[in-house]
Structure formats: structure tokens, C-alpha cells
């Protein structure tokens, strides 16, 4: 069974059954049925748009509570680079890293350190496989999930390199076992995540057999907890920094591409923009580029729904923080010396949006969809619980909705019924 577990969940008590989320979802993965929103897990790519737009805060991300730290004897924090951009007046990333240790972590392994290795791996991979360019970044799990269900022709263009956090987790676990002598299960490798997509990527990986990440906590939770510890961390002097400019820059859109040291790239952010770029790539309208960086969130990872700061303010803070940093602090002599550099398995196309079992069935069902679309009012009002009339037509053909879910068709039906009754 293919893995379609997502991390965006609904709080039924808060859901009012309005149409904000169904309208905004880029993969049309939500329907309102019986007054509550339902997420279709196969369609959901965990982009978090519904979380952003829900006026009742009924959409939530599934992640681990902070007290999960108590489960482990030795805890290692894996902060995403975008985490550092959440704080006001921060001049030194060391303060955050030290404060994480005061907060209850035994060690810190910066994801940005692994990001520098991924930058190097990517440069070498692209150089070696120029014939397959342009390469699409695989760092944003929402983008990978989107391509998996909607852009089969682009799968071969995705860089099959693991996301920085995966490599960081692998290295951090190895180091922790070595430093402490503890068995692996007593060690907790804990990722501070900016978004639901990265929670899913850690808990339900689709290109790896398993992840070394043991738990995922939300940046917004850690933010609140860490603030008091930052005051004392300010007066300490130990240097915990593991990464330079290249690694830190991954926290915002354009950062990953910048680390490739080439001009031949584009960087798009925001899910609708990402989809437009993918459509054009698929039609070969975009050519002569080596690299395509895509981030589902506006601004890149700083725009994740589990962040605290405004993405554009955060982006500017990140720029300030990296100003006096060295270009990079991580380099590998032998790239095959990196554990877990590449995906365990190939990404496979999952045609979840197919209407039929096979082409013949799909053709027949498309004919029915077209006929239904003629009949439906074409207002895309959302009252039926589907985002558009076309989506309702598809649901009807799939057997999960019926024509009377449309209030206009229902009205016609009632008019007809009452005039028939009058004739009796």
C-alpha cells in the first residue's frame, strides 16, 4: 500500500463547514460533507494552505508535543535554518543554539550544516548528469508529493538527494551513539519543523525506507519555550556554530539555488506559483536552466505555517544574520562518504486523480463528467461541498456525491416536484 499519510488534520468541533479551505486547496483535496470539512489524504500534499486560510482555526498540523523529550535519555535538537529568523534583535546564532541546550536538549546538530553537504552533492550531481537538466529541488516535501501525484513526466528531473534534515538526523544519531555509548533507542533525534509537510516526510517517508528522525516538534512551540533561556545564553561564550552562509540561506526562497554557485536557475515560492512553473516545465516551455528551486510556502521555509514571524521579515533577518558568517563550514572530500546522501527508492507516479480503473473506463467517465458539467450551473459556489462544479461532477462520477448536492439542481427538482403535485 502506497503511503498517503498526511499531517494536516481537522478539529471537527471548530469546523463550521464553510468553504474557505475547499476553495484554497491547490489539489482540491477537501470536501465539506454533513457540515464538516473532510480531507482526502491521497490528494493532500501537506502544503498547509488550508491551515493558513481557515478563519476558525479548525485545521491543524499533527506533530509531537514538547514533552516527548522526556521519552529519551539523550536528546539532540535539529533546528531548521529558518528557526533562527524568528527572533528579534538576534545578532549571533550561538545564542539560539546554547538556549536549546538550556531548554532540555543535550546536543544540537544544525540542519544548515547538512544543507551545505546537500549543496555540494547537488553541484556534483548536476554536473555529472547535465543531459537530464533542468533539475528540480527535492527539499520541499510538498513539492515532491505534488509531482508524485500530478506531474509524472517531471519525476525524472527531481534531484534524488535527501533533504538536509535527513542527512542531519543520520549524522546526529551516529554522533550521539558515539558520544554517549547509549543504545540508539535511548537517543531522541528531534527536528524543529517549520511545516506539516516536513512532519509527514519524517514520520511517513515516501522515498526512504525509514527516517532517523525520532520526533518532530513545531517551531512555534519551541519559540515560546526557548525565549526565557536566551537571556542567560547571551552571556556565555561557547561556539556551537556548524554552518556558514550557504547552509543558513536554505531557510528562505532562493537560498538553496544560491548554494549551487550558478546563475542558471529559477526559484519560485508559493504553491500556486510552483504549480505554474511545473506546468510550464512539463510543456518544455522552460529550458536552458540547470536548476529549479521550488518552495510550497511564500518566501520559502520561513513562510511555513508552524513559524511565528512574518516570512518577509524573517527573510530579512536571515540576511542580517549571515552577513559576517563564513561562506561555508562543511565540505566533503569524497561525496560517497556521506551516509544517506541519496533516496533509498525511486519516486513512483501515483495517479490518484484518475477517474477510472484504466483508460477505457477513464474515457467513459470523462464523457459523463463533461455531460454533468453542461448540466451544472458553472458558478463554482461551493455550496455542494466541492470546490468547483467540475469537482462535483467528478465526485458524482466517482460515486461519492450526487446531483442533488447541487443547490441549483435541487431547486429545479423541487420546483418540478411541486408543479407535478399541483397537477394531481
Amino acid at each position: 500500500m502506497e503511503n498517503f499519510t498526511n499531517s494536516v488534520r481537522l478539529d471537527k468541533d471548530l469546523c463550521k463547514g464553510c468553504i474557505h479551505c475547499i476553495k484554497r486547496c491547490p489539489t482540491q483535496a477537501i470536501r465539506v460533507r454533513n457540515g464538516k470539512a473532510h480531507i482526502i489524504p491521497e490528494f493532500c500534499i501537506d502544503c498547509g494552505e488550508c491551515i493558513r486560510v481557515c478563519p476558525h482555526h479548525a485545521k491543524k498540523t499533527h506533530y509531537d508535543p514538547l514533552d516527548i523529550l522526556d521519552k529519551y535519555e539523550y536528546k539532540v535538537a535539529l533546528p531548521a535554518p529558518s528557526f533562527y529568523a524568528q527572533f528579534n534583535n538576534l545578532e549571533d546564532i550561538n545564542i539560539v543554539l546554547r538556549a536549546l541546550k538550556h531548554m532540555g536538549f543535550d546536543d544540537v546538530f544544525e540542519v544548515s550544516a547538512a544543507a551545505e553537504l546537500v549543496s555540494q552533492l547537488s553541484r556534483e550531481y548536476i554536473e555529472k548528469h547535465k543531459d537530464k537538466a533542468p533539475f528540480i529541488s527535492s527539499a520541499c516535501p510538498s513539492v515532491v508529493r505534488l509531482i508524485r501525484v500530478r506531474f509524472p513526466n517531471l519525476i525524472e528531473h527531481i534531484l534524488p538527494i535527501n533533504a538536509p534534515v535527513e542527512i542531519a538526523a543520520e549524522e546526529a544519531a551516529k554522533k550521539a551513539v558515539k558520544d554517549t555509548g547509549l543504545p540508539r533507542e535511548k537517543i531522541g533525534i528531534i527536528f524543529l519543523s517549520p511545516c506539516p509537510a516536513k512532519v509527514s516526510a519524517a514520520k511517513h517517508p515516501i522515498v526512504n525506507e525509514k527516517s532517523e528522525i525520532d520526533a518532530v516538534v513545531a517551531i512555534k512551540h519551541v519559540y515560546k519555550e526557548i525565549l526565557p533561556y536566551m537571556v542567560e545564553a547571551q552571556n556565555e561564550s561557547d561556539d556551537l556554530l556548524q554552518a556558514g552562509k550557504i547552509g543558513i540561506s536554505w531557510g528562505a526562497s532562493g537560498g538553496e539555488a544560491g548554494g549551487l554557485l550558478t546563475d542558471s536557475y529559477l526559484a519560485a515560492d508559493g504553491i500556486e506559483n510552483v504549480i505554474k512553473v511545473l506546468e510550464e516545465l512539463e510543456d518544455q516551455k522552460i529550458s536552458n536552466l540547470d536548476f529549479i528551486e521550488l518552495n510550497a510556502c511564500s518566501g520559502g521555509c520561513v513562510g511555513g505555517v508552524l513559524q511565528v514571524e512574518n516570512p518577509y521579515v524573517a527573510k530579512s533577518k536571515l540576511k542580517h544574520l549571515r552577513k559576517y558568517m563564513p561562506v561555508a563550514k562543511n565540505h566533503i572530500e569524497e561525496t560517497n562518504g556521506v551516509n544517506k546522501a541519496y533516496w533509498d527508492k525511486d519516486l513512483e507516479y501515483q495517479p490518484v486523480f484518475n477517474l477510472g480503473r484504466d483508460f477505457a473506463d477513464g474515457l467513459a467517465k470523462m464523457e459523463q463528467v463533461e455531460q454533468l458539467c453542461e448540466k451544472l450551473p458553472g458558478l463554482d459556489c461551493g455550496s455542494c461541498g466541492a470546490p468547483t462544479c467540475k469537482a462535483l461532477a467528478e465526485d458524482i462520477v466517482r460515486g461519492i456525491a450526487n446531483e442533488k448536492d447541487c443547490i441549483y439542481l435541487l431547486r429545479e427538482y423541487i420546483h418540478k416536484l411541486s408543479s407535478d403535485l399541483k397537477k394531481i
Partner: protein, 141 residues
């Protein structure tokens, strides 16, 4: 009787930003029908080139796409100036597009050659001053 579905589109010849709308729409539908990704790609590229040609040379026109169990038939009909020399137009790199169009990144002279390359059958019926009808067929298996 075997099933077939027909989609109809009007191409606005004045609006470059909308060129590609029809091919993009067809692409989505073919994928939903379960047409193999290779075939979808051929149709999308061939049709996009045709659509661009209709905007660049002919002030728009009408496209009909018929999907049968065996093939996808795209008919692109315009009432443009017609193609004076079809043989020449089929040559890679031959272009009559003006500077304006070229400055937008179009007019590389690959339109018809790409349409031929990505379709299994291409017929062009053109009459000077009357218009052009291009029929492209892509086999499903």
C-alpha cells in the same frame, strides 16, 4: 458504439498571456482519463506549439480535441493569412515571425517542426487569405 469525448476551445489571438490555456486544460483531462504520461506529453507539446502559431500568425481560432479509444485528434482551425510555402515552414529554424514576436522569445522557427515531431500524423490544409486547418493525431498505444 465506442465512446469518445470532444473538448472545444477558442484561442484568443490578441492575448499572449492566455496562449497555452487550451493545451494545459487538455493535459489535465488526459491525465485524469489515465492516458499514459508519454502520450500526454506529446499532445501537450504539439498542441501548445499549434496554439502559439494561432496567436502569432492568425489572430486566434478554434481547437477541437477528440479523444477516442485509439487516438487523440487535435483540429486547429484559423481564418488567418494561410501558409505561403508549407514545405519551407516545415523546416527547422524557418520563421516569418516579426522582430516583436521574436523579442518575446517566440518565432524560433520550431513550431511546425515540433508539431510534426510530437504527433504521429500531421496534415495541413491551408489557403492563402482564407485560413489554415491543422490536424494532428497522437496514437494512444
Amino acid at each position: 458504439m465506442s465512446t469518445s469525448v470532444t473538448f472545444k476551445y477558442t484561442v484568443d489571438g490578441e492575448d499572449f498571456t492566455r496562449a497555452g490555456e487550451a493545451s494545459s486544460n487538455v493535459k489535465g483531462k488526459l491525465k485524469q482519463m489515465g492516458v499514459s504520461p508519454d502520450v500526454v506529453r506529446k499532445v501537450a507539446i504539439a498542441m501548445y506549439e499549434g496554439e502559439i502559431n494561432m496567436v502569432v500568425h492568425a489572430k486566434g481560432g478554434d481547437i477541437t480535441v477528440e479523444v477516442t479509444p485509439e487516438e487523440i485528434i487535435m483540429t486547429l482551425k484559423d481564418v488567418g493569412p494561410g501558409i505561403p510555402d508549407v514545405e519551407k515552414a516545415m523546416q527547422a529554424g524557418y520563421s516569418t515571425a516579426n522582430e516583436n514576436i521574436r523579442s518575446l522569445g517566440f518565432g524560433a522557427g520550431m513550431g511546425l517542426p515540433n508539431m510534426k515531431k510530437y504527433s504521429d500524423e500531421l496534415t495541413i490544409d491551408t489557403k492563402l487569405g482564407v485560413g489554415t486547418t491543422v490536424v494532428m493525431k497522437v496514437k494512444i498505444n
